[in-house]
Symmetry: C2
Subunit: 248 residues, 2 copies
Amino acid sequence: MAQNIYDDAQFFDGYSQFPRSREGLAGAAEWPSLRAMLPPLSGLRVLDLGCGFGYFAQWAAKAGAAEVVGLDLSENMLDVARRNCADLPVRFARADLETAALGDGAYDLVFSSLAVHYLADFDSFCARVRAALVPGGSLVFSMEHPVFAARATPDFVTDAEGRMVGAVLDYLREGERLTNWIADGVVKHHRLISTTINSLIAAGFVLDHVEEWAATDADIAQHPEWEKERYQPMFLLFSAHLSAPASA
Amino acid sequence: MAQNIYDDAQFFDGYSQFPRSREGLAGAAEWPSLRAMLPPLSGLRVLDLGCGFGYFAQWAAKAGAAEVVGLDLSENMLDVARRNCADLPVRFARADLETAALGDGAYDLVFSSLAVHYLADFDSFCARVRAALVPGGSLVFSMEHPVFAARATPDFVTDAEGRMVGAVLDYLREGERLTNWIADGVVKHHRLISTTINSLIAAGFVLDHVEEWAATDADIAQHPEWEKERYQPMFLLFSAHLSAPASA
């Protein structure tokens, strides 16, 4: 079972202060990039894995999705999500993405924002996402960038020549890493870009696009506090699809 | 035009001392991984881009390739390559991979070892490789891993807690980087994994496998000097193919 850190009161309070918690998608720096990787939502059945406060589910419903289902492990998050999506064609349920069955050909699009780095078994996740999708269905997701996840300390350090560098520790050692982020002892799973991609391919996905998200000049003009996002690859975004049957 | 550093006498002499220069493929730590990504060579027409001393071309010819063509910018390398492949069905020619036309549907496999990080325009390279291949043809190549290429210094540094960390400088800033490696002022082009993959996809390739090469326990038992290769992703390996026509 994945760690349910979002139901830890201290963690949840801290997380709730983040711009992406208070402002929704507009507060998530990588959202415009992720949105650009999505197919037109109109009429689609959408599954949101690690739905958090339900901001994407809300957006998808308003963008014309026929059906949106959001799953999350945290009761705290689901409570807020349900409030955020009242009166919209969205359903939420509690599920551990590490093991939950996700449906059988029930969805056209699976979306997941910053959730898979909490999962130990990404192959299992990919296989269950594949089963949840119709042939030709799409998967769009983001995760912590492994170069960021492997940092010895979350902050940059200054090298002997006064340059701001990221201290990458044991990048090639995959697996569980304890991080002190908001609360102590948060369990994340460090997974290489290559491992992530090979798991997708092994599960039958064709990779369409990868993005190591970086802030643009325009982003930084609007959000000067994102300046460091020029230097560190914090987010990694993927889109992929299943082949449609030859007769389609 | 790409920098022709391998025809610099100091660089060439230094490079010639490396295990991969003296011992051939057996001296290249990543070769077993790269070999595992290759299709069976028997009967294939093979193009080797940045063929260096011709060790891969020699191996491919002995593995049954019908035809092997090796291209390189360095006359020094080509001289050695020709000697290494005397009496084999291998041809070598001088070419700048930055701009050279590579043929028109003339090859079943394009191979390239540690060459593309010398090229400024990877999109152009991918388009010319695509043109060189038959439909269904394969591309297998390696490059310097961008986490390694972006290091502020080639060596590890020790952090405040005594841990060996890699100091990654400006990972997200792509483009030309001058490196002092063997000789001063070697021009390499830092390119993200995502950019590399998106260029392949844009050129019509389907990605099959990615490997961020790491030494295994067995590797290190045989080559104790590779111990550091557990920690730093020095090599990045890719295999991809072009779709075959539906009528094939």
